[in-house]
């Protein structure tokens, strides 16, 4: 099976979906000439022309509005917001319009928009270019929120997101674009709303999102050598949440660690923990534990940045604590 980067997987998804449906187009800052910040639309301007790969000025509200307006007219826009931090400027369109108009129309209006953006730390961009803001969207009725972690997942999920008739928040991680993985050269889709068990295990369930999945897998490999068997669950879609996969895993292991790069307070990690507590309370050997970034702005520079966000070592340590707590009982 071919091994490609996360960014190339996105490019393939764009290209395939744009060939499949002429209503699909991409709009955003530098999506054409640059081929997007991390080159995930490289070469598409030449392939599809400026009508379908639309470079837009630095006007996030207008770009998002173009998404809503063109979707209203039957098109299927992919709206790229270069950094999730800039989505603040576009929130009105997403929250007040994209998420509301289908319901206000009694289901007559469909807004098949993919709001595609990237967030998180890893490139030393400090507090206005490194945020994890996915929690906001999970809290808005009417939106689907997707956070892929591998090249295989991003391609299959992006293709499904483009074909879906709901507005979808598609949040990539800036540290993942050059990660490589196997991606089949035959077409496939990954359904939205389905979690993936990235590693099987039977002692502790680690629920991790986006970049954190990679660290969780590394930690799980290390812990295996120490005799702790971890199952790593990647929800892939934060909402609607595949509760079944999570519940099944925790019922088996009886221990659960939730890992997100976003701070814990008021976030999706609390939602995931509640799902476990509400459904697996009697199976739990210890309360669910969360490992998230502390409640602060992302510090500048490589050393502090890595210290702030969860990583392989802190995940392994949290799992050891959890397993130790259970064994003491």
């Amino acid at each position: 099976m071919p091994v490609i980067t996360f960014g190339e997987a996105i490019r393939q998804a764009y290209s395939e979906e744009m060939k499949r449906d002429e209503n699909v187009f991409l709009i955003g800052e530098d999506v054409g000439r640059w081929g997007s910040l991390y080159r995930s639309s490289k070469g598409l301007l030449e392939e599809f022309g400026p009508e379908r790969i639309k470079d837009a000025p630095i006007s996030e509200a207008a770009i998002a509005g173009c998404g809503v307006g063109s979707a209203l007219m039957g098109m299927r826009p992919i709206v790229e917001i270069m950094y999730i931090d800039f989505i603040t400027i576009a929130m009105d369109q997403i929250v007040n319009h994209a998420a509301k108009w289908p319901q206000l129309s009694g289901g007559k209006v469909k807004l098949p928009i993919v709001f595609k953006t990237q967030g998180g730390a890893g490139r030393r961009n400090s507090s206005q270019h490194s945020q994890s803001l996915e929690n906001w969207f999970v809290g808005i009725p009417g939106l689907i929120t997707v956070m892929p972690s591998t090249p295989y997942d991003v391609k299959g999920l992006l293709k499904s997101a483009i074909r879906n008739d709901n507005p979808v928040m598609f949040i990539e991680h800036k540290a993942l674009y050059f990660e490589k993985g196997e991606v089949p050269d035959t077409e496939y889709l990954i359904p939205l709303g389905q979690a993936d068990v990235k590693r099987k295990g039977d002692e502790v369930t680690i629920i991790a999102t986006s970049w954190m999945v990679l660290f969780a897998l590394k930690a799980a490999a290390k812990l295996q050598d120490e005799g702790i068997s971890c199952e790593v669950v990647d929800p892939r879609t934060l909402w609607p949440l595949d509760k079944e996969t999570i519940i099944q895993s925790v019922k088996k292991t009886g221990l659960c660690l939730v890992v997100t790069e976003a701070p814990a307070e008021g976030g999706w990690s609390g939602e995931a923990s509640s799902v476990v507590h509400e459904n697996c309370f009697r199976d739990l050997k210890a309360p669910v534990k969360r490992l998230c970034s502390p409640r602060t702005g992302m510090p500048y520079g490589p050393v502090l940045e890595r210290q702030i966000i969860p990583g392989e070592d802190s995940i392994a340590s949290a799992v050891r604590d959890l397993a130790g707590e259970a064994r003491r009982k």
Binding site: C66, K110, P141, P191
Partner: protein, 326 residues
């Protein structure tokens, strides 16, 4: 303008005036639940501009939408039922008087000031890209012209030469903030220059002028000459909402002065001067009154939406039969 057309437009404005009065009365009886934003005095903008569109043209309106909606062709019944929160309303009674959608008439409104300009840009972009024989019109107020969305949307529409007529319905007040104090330029149309567009200000209380300019600009927009930005200068004769503390931001004398210049008085004077019989206009008023009574009685009989309806259409389920609210 022919006397016949003027009489027709006068009738449409009178309908909006009487409809507004009916809504006010219903608001006073607490049968309209949210804040009610009266439209009195601005009828020549709705009838002049919105009434000049074809059904398949798209109209984006504001938090003061009922005049625009009716002039665009939405039924009085559906608009009133929506304001009264009843099932046959444009949005099933779930949107209320500030946000509703009528897809058959291509009418959309929302209650966040300035938000509709970027959506209009997107609609214009899609119309141009798909080579459709349609245009988009977007109405907003003087307040919206101070938002960032105004600038972003107009710049983009101008660089891409989109088929959109943007109408700034300058009623001189953004809630309690007078445009003369809160808008940095003398006329809002001056802002058009920043996007390479012509400065166009019309007397928004003169139905003959609004309709003439609307007809011309809509035709030019269809021929690919858009976008246009028009300032229609009018005056909000009532408060931002019913019962707002008006004394905090304007004098009674100022309102009375503008009341002399309101569009219905002016159109009526012109009609009478051209020989139209006053009795005919009184008969018209009576007919409108009877029609509105029937609409009101009908609306009062309509059901409210259920909790099940309030939970429906939030999203399109991923799998057949899935019920989770997204």
């Amino acid at each position: 303008m022919s006397e016949m057309l003027l009489e027709e437009l006068y009738g449409e404005m009178l309908l909006l005036r009487r409809f507004d009065e009916l809504c006010l009365a219903l608001k006073m009886k607490d049968l309209i639940y949210s804040g009610y934003h009266p439209y009195e005095g601005q009828e020549a903008v709705a009838v002049g501009f919105c009434g000049a569109l074809e059904t398949n043209d798209v109209l984006l309106s504001t938090h003061r939408p009922h005049g625009h909606a009716v002039a665009k062709g939405c039924s009085l019944e559906a608009v009133l039922a929506e304001m009264m929160g009843r099932q046959p309303g444009c949005s099933g009674g779930l949107g209320g008087g500030m946000q509703y959608i009528d897809t058959e008439n291509n009418f959309y409104c929302g209650s966040v000031v300035g938000s509709n300009l970027p959506i209009a840009t997107g609609i214009g972009m899609a119309i141009k890209q798909q080579k459709l024989d349609r245009i988009c019109m977007c109405l907003f107020g003087d307040g919206a012209s101070n938002t960032g969305s105004f600038h972003e949307a107009l710049n983009l529409a101008a660089i891409w030469k989109l088929p959109i007529v943007y109408i700034c319905e300058n009623n001189q007040f953004a809630e309690a903030m007078p445009a003369r104090e809160f808008v940095a330029c003398e006329r809002i149309s001056m802002r058009a220059r920043a996007y390479g567009l012509d400065e166009i200000t019309v007397d928004g209380n003169d139905i003959e002028e609004t309709r003439r300019v609307a007809t011309e600009l809509i035709a030019r927009t269809r021929h690919g000459e858009g976008p246009f930005l028009v300032e229609a200068l009018t005056y909000r004769l009532r408060g931002h909402y019913v019962g707002d503390p008006e004394a905090t931001y304007r004098d009674h004398e100022e309102v009375e002065l503008w009341r002399q210049k309101e569009p219905l008085i002016r159109a009526k004077e012109n009609l009478l001067a051209s020989g139209v019989n006053e009795t005919a206009l009184e008969d018209l008023d009576k007919t409108i009154g009877e029609r509105l009574s029937r609409v009101r009685d009908w609306a009062l009989d309509q059901k409210f939406p259920t909790i099940e309806q309030a939970l429906d259409h939030v999203w399109i389920p991923l799998a057949e039969g899935e019920t989770t609210c997204l």
